[in-house]
Subunit: 369 residues, 2 copies
């Protein structure tokens, strides 16, 4: 193999595929990236056996070939190299050859491992293929990824449920304590009907490289392939039925309050002095035209802040998990947020008054006496 | 106690004294800061029994008093409070009272511990007192702190040796592997004659708050007190004789090279891909008018870079600890650095060709075959 490529193209490609290289590989070869040179293209691949990322860029190719290289060392070398041309070559005859990496600043030799040992990414048939426009996809992911479960044991709850029907696109996620539902603005773009639950991990990668170009999704059996520009992200889809979340959202409310989202967030964040991993609760006391937010760490101390609000209904004390409350409010983009409540033990709905069409359901926590 | 003070003055003061609050206190009260209100002044103190920092700022005092508060929670509360006035008060009658901290954004109650339990900082008599101008002090500390030992067992080597004689000020530090000597430019300012070895810890704090004002140093027995503006830093001085380091610096050299300091640093930093905690060595091969820098991680790979240099003497291969080499070069401010060498086993001297008057001695490491 012998190529000359641009340092920045190689650096960007390595950054993208490295996100699928496991930090604790189950097999040593998975700590490497696969580099395949054919035609005038270089393709890099990272794969942890569940998430796979492949990306392609142009290079000046003198001799085709393939090899795997330790992802971390390879990235370190390229990140530390100056902008400009990088020449990479090795003798194909050797078994695990030293790969020469040359730039204007010096020469590195890095031990490679033959590509034959690297596992192949599963093929995903192109039968079921559809496109999603970039902006609605970004809006849906930003509004739901945070509320999906990170506990691998929770199966279907580690995914985002995406559904397109009657040209309405809907994203939903829940970890059992809260539920986020977003209906992105399609701005008259047409979307194919489908329904899928996709793990949050590959979706985070899709979001991180998403530009303005539409994303193509192929799925077959329980496998998925996202095409985002020159990058392909492979993942398994999630088995099992997604909870019927619409029935969790109450229709009638005894109380509401509307408040400035940013001021409310700041007041809640100040309470975090007295919350920790054991004590996660803050209390909202809803009065006429104001909300008193408080946290109590018993012997250590306590905190209290007041924000103005437009309220309806009777006064109420209600407890929230501070993390769940903040995460939901922070993905909203509106100036004002509306809370709709019944009692201190029933689900609460927070909706932004402008910007996204989003419903954030959060279960209150019991106020300890 | 009852005061009103500015959030920013209190925040700055807490940041300064918190650096003397131990993260793992030997006694619970040491995790607190002491707050003493007298006249129209508030004085905060942090003390880990070896390093003590005290700082004073103005406040509107309605009632004098003193209390200790948990340093971390107190800092969190003040850092999260908006700019403007902060009111602090508690009832002096109570034993460990709840201290009320109020700002425009809300109210905190924080449990205090009576000040009587807080250890007193030792008094340092003012007999031996002298001033050091700020700029030369900063220059001397920046050029030597990095080379002092962080191993508490190494006693006197954890200090900086500072000497003033015949109106020449000299700072020296060594950890046994390298030696840094700096003679700051006094610009005709007069300094009192003295000689002291001072632990690096309080000196780092002095450097971090140093402005343009001169620093007053009082010392008596083995105790030291630095006065920097409104802040006082207390420390013990180090017993034992400081090594006679001047005799370690060779006078004659068989070889020299002068090279661009920044390019040399960049080339050495690139080698760090193949160095780690076990393999700390880089090799410099001195040829006519160029230095080839290399690192070898055996099976993993190797790296090589060339920098231009003006050389005298015969070619030589010499090994350096990459960390020691980089740390010394990085505190210099000159465009060019001169290396003076004899053999691959004798001390090497690096000196900046402009800027500071600094001598950096570094012991080579054996080149493994």
């Amino acid at each position: 193999m012998e190529i000359i490529c641009s340092q920045s193209a190689l650096k960007d490609a390595l950054n993208i595929v490295s996100r699928a290289v496991p930090s604790r590989p189950t097999h040593p070869i998975l700590a490497n990236v696969l580099m395949v040179v054919t035609g005038d293209k270089v393709t890099l691949t990272g794969f942890d056996l569940s998430l796979g990322i492949t990306t392609t860029f142009d290079a000046q190719v003198m001799e085709e070939g393939k090899i795997t290289l330790p992802a971390k060392l390879f990235s370190d070398i390229i990140n530390k190299s100056p902008e400009g041309d990088i020449a990479i070559e090795f003798e194909d005859e050797e078994d695990n050859p030293m790969v020469e990496i040359k730039s204007s600043s010096g020469k590195f030799n890095l031990r490679g491992v033959v590509a034959d040992e690297y596992p192949e990414l599963p093929e995903v048939e192109k039968e079921n293929s559809f496109e999603l426009p970039a902006l609605p996809l970004a809006e849906g992911l930003k509004g739901t990824l945070f509320a999906s479960s990170t506990d691998e044991g929770k199966q279907v709850l580690t995914g985002i449920h995406i559904k397109a029907k009657d040209n309405i696109l809907e994203f939903a996620s829940t970890d059992g304590h809260r539920l986020a539902v977003v209906k992105p603005n399609l701005e008259e773009q047409e979307v194919t009907e489908f329904q899928l639950t996709i793990p949050n991990k590959p979706l985070r990668e899709v979001l991180s490289i998403l530009g303005t170009e539409a994303v193509t999704i192929n799925y077959a059996d329980n496998q998925l392939l996202f095409a985002v520009g020159n990058t392909r992200i492979f993942s398994r889809s999630l088995d099992g039925t997604y909870p019927n979340y619409h029935q969790l959202i109450p229709n009638n409310f005894e109380r509401t309050f509307v408040t400035n989202r940013k001021e409310f967030i700041e007041a809640v964040e100040r309470m975090s002095v007295f919350t920790d991993q054991k004590n996660t609760m803050i209390k909202c006391s809803i009065f006429k035209q104001q909300i008193v937010i408080s946290a109590d760490a018993k012997e250590l101390g306590n905190a209290k802040a007041t924000v103005k609000a437009e309220t309806t209904g009777d006064p109420l004390d209600i407890g929230f998990n501070i993390k769940y409350l903040l995460e939901g409010l922070k993905v909203m983009s509106s100036n004002e947020v509306k809370f709709s409540l019944n009692s201190a033990t029933q689900p609460v709905i927070a909706t932004p008054l402008s910007g996204q069409q989003m419903t954030y359901l959060i279960m209150p926590v019991n106020i300890r006496e």
